[in-house]
């Protein structure tokens, strides 16, 4: 059993995928999707994967990698705020806490003074995730949601996390790659169940504002850390990885016309559109990988 849990493919992919499926089933049969208990379950799983990949939290946190779990915890606290509080001020809150996270993670790097390509990419990723997250959380839930609506935020987190994971590992930051991979699998498990529910004629459950916020914040802060510190991460791939958040706003607006009329296809096409920058990020990272596309510690 311990050998199974010690296998990174299990903890990075299989286990979070199964747990994401379990959460989605819980939201389908046991708890309402907006229940704070479900938010707590997401939070517990998130912290489990942080602990598993980054190790126990250091006190006081010195390195940026030690700060990530505290940032995740801050995202959880905000995510557990009452829906009416989050609903009014989420965008503003997102801007403030994303900017604060970037400065906290990157102050040593910024104080270092050398404005190289890597740091320019990190600044761009910080700004793009801040704007993108504010745009995603600003989307109001429709009274009669379209078929794709419950999938938009999860698709953005999934695409960002998956692209970030591969860019991170190829950029010589393996642990953050594993963490983003776990997040992608967790959200992927959720999406899979919701899509099956929709195919069977049911209504897919949407994330509550709290879950949306804490998962967006977790994925984006880990991507920012990769951009700031992974020595070989491809700058273009990093920037592309942060763009799925922006495509969500486009899918709700100008790209709406590209979605087909057939209900089962709408989430698929919306997901593919959101994933386009992530796919480009992965291709860029692999093609221009500094040591070839060999994954794992050497």
């Amino acid at each position: 059993m311990s050998a199974l849990l010690g296998n990174p493919m299990v903890t990075t992919a299989a286990l979070p995928l199964l747990l994401g499926i379990a959460l989605a089933l819980a939201a389908r049969f046991v708890l309402p999707a907006a229940s704070p208990v479900l938010t707590l379950l997401w939070a517990a799983l998130l912290l489990f994967f942080y602990w598993d990949t980054l190790g126990p939290p250091g006190m006081p946190p010195a390195a940026a990698s030690q700060k990530l779990i505290y940032l995740a915890f801050a995202g959880i606290v905000i995510g557990l705020l009452p829906e009416r509080v989050l609903g009014r001020a989420t965008s503003l809150l997102a801007v403030i806490v994303f900017a604060a996270a970037f400065l906290w993670l990157g102050w040593r790097r910024l104080a270092g003074g050398s404005l190289d390509l890597q740091l320019i990419a990190a600044l761009a990723v910080g700004l793009l995730t801040l704007i993108g997250a504010a745009m995603v959380v600003a989307q109001e839930a429709s009274p009669s949601p379209s078929a794709e609506e419950p999938f938009l935020a999860p698709a953005a987190v999934l695409a960002l996390s998956l692209a970030g994971a591969i860019v991170s590992v190829l950029g010589a930051s393996i642990v953050t790659g594993q963490l983003l991979g776990s997040l992608a699998a967790l959200v992927g498990g959720w999406c899979l169940v919701q899509y099956v529910v929709m195919l069977r004629g049911g209504a897919a459950a949407a994330w509550s504002r709290g879950v949306e916020f804490l998962l967006l914040y977790a994925a984006a802060t880990v991507l920012v850390q990769v951009a700031l510190l992974a020595p070989k991460a491809n700058p273009a791939a990093l920037i592309l990885s942060s763009l799925p958040l922006h495509v969500v706003a486009l899918v709700c607006g100008p790209l709406q016309n590209l979605l087909p009329g057939a209900r089962p296809l709408r989430p698929l096409v919306a997901g593919i559109l959101i994933a386009v920058p992530a796919i480009l990020a992965i291709v860029t990272a692999i093609v221009w990988a500094p040591h070839g596309a060999a994954l794992g510690f050497s």
């Binding site: 010690g6 990174p8 990949t53 980054l54 190790g55 126990p56 250091g58 010195a62 390195a63 940026a64 990698s65 030690q66 040593r108 790097r109 270092g112 890597q118 950029g171 010589a172 930051s173 393996i174 642990v175 953050t176 850390q225 700031l228 510190l229 992974a230 020595p231 070989k232 500094p290 040591h291 060999a294 510690f297 050497s298």
Partner: protein
């Protein structure tokens, strides 16, 4: 009268400082002749080796009272090499030495003890990735001599060994995540130029 006493006291204090300073020699680490190397268990297989090329620092050696000696040194994390580029990139990354955030590793002695005429123990704070841990190095003075080709050049050569654990620094996943260590054996050979 009071002025004379004051001058005498100052002269005595100054002379004492000069006598004390006469025993302490200042050295600067010669970066071109410094080998800071380490070995660490590599997974279930063998032993991996690495080296830092960028080394600088200062040594104060007081032969009359060794406890007054001190060492202050700094390693450039970006200068790490292990005979394989990809591994070097991994080691400079945030999973290990985190060069972008913490470009240097530093060591500052807090205690120097004499064992015999040529050996001693140097205890100090080793700071890696913003975390300081006390480390004791076994140090040997190999030689101290004037260069035969340059009468103005005097050098001292030292060897030092010690052990640290990756678990003490923000690279705790090195052992259970990557199967490295956690014990790291350090071996240092360096020359220092008398100033």
């Amino acid at each position: 009268m009071r002025t004379r006493k004051l001058i005498a006291a100052l002269a005595f204090a100054g002379a004492s400082i000069l006598v004390a300073a006469a025993h302490a020699d200042n050295y600067e680490i010669d970066g071109q002749h410094a080998w800071v190397t380490f070995t660490i268990k590599h997974g279930i297989y063998g032993i991996a080796h690495g080296q830092f090329d960028g080394v600088k620092g200062a040594i104060v050696m007081d032969k009359a009272d060794v406890s007054k000696s001190s060492v202050k040194a700094e390693l450039d994390v970006a200068s790490i090499h292990t005979a394989f580029d990809q591994r070097d990139s991994d080691l400079k990354g945030p999973d290990f030495f985190n060069a972008a955030e913490f470009p240097t590793i530093s060591f500052e002695s807090t205690k120097v003890e004499k064992v015999d005429d040529k050996t001693g123990k140097v205890t100090g704070n080793l700071t890696i990735s913003g975390v300081s841990k006390e480390v004791t190095l076994d140090v040997k003075l190999l030689n101290e001599a004037q260069a035969p080709w340059d009468a103005t050049l005097t050098k001292a050569a030292f060897s030092a060994t010690g052990k640290v654990s990756t678990a003490d620094f923000p690279m705790a996943k090195a052992a259970d995540g990557f199967g490295l260590g956690p014990e790291v054996e350090i071996a240092i050979d360096l020359e220092a130029v008398k100033k």
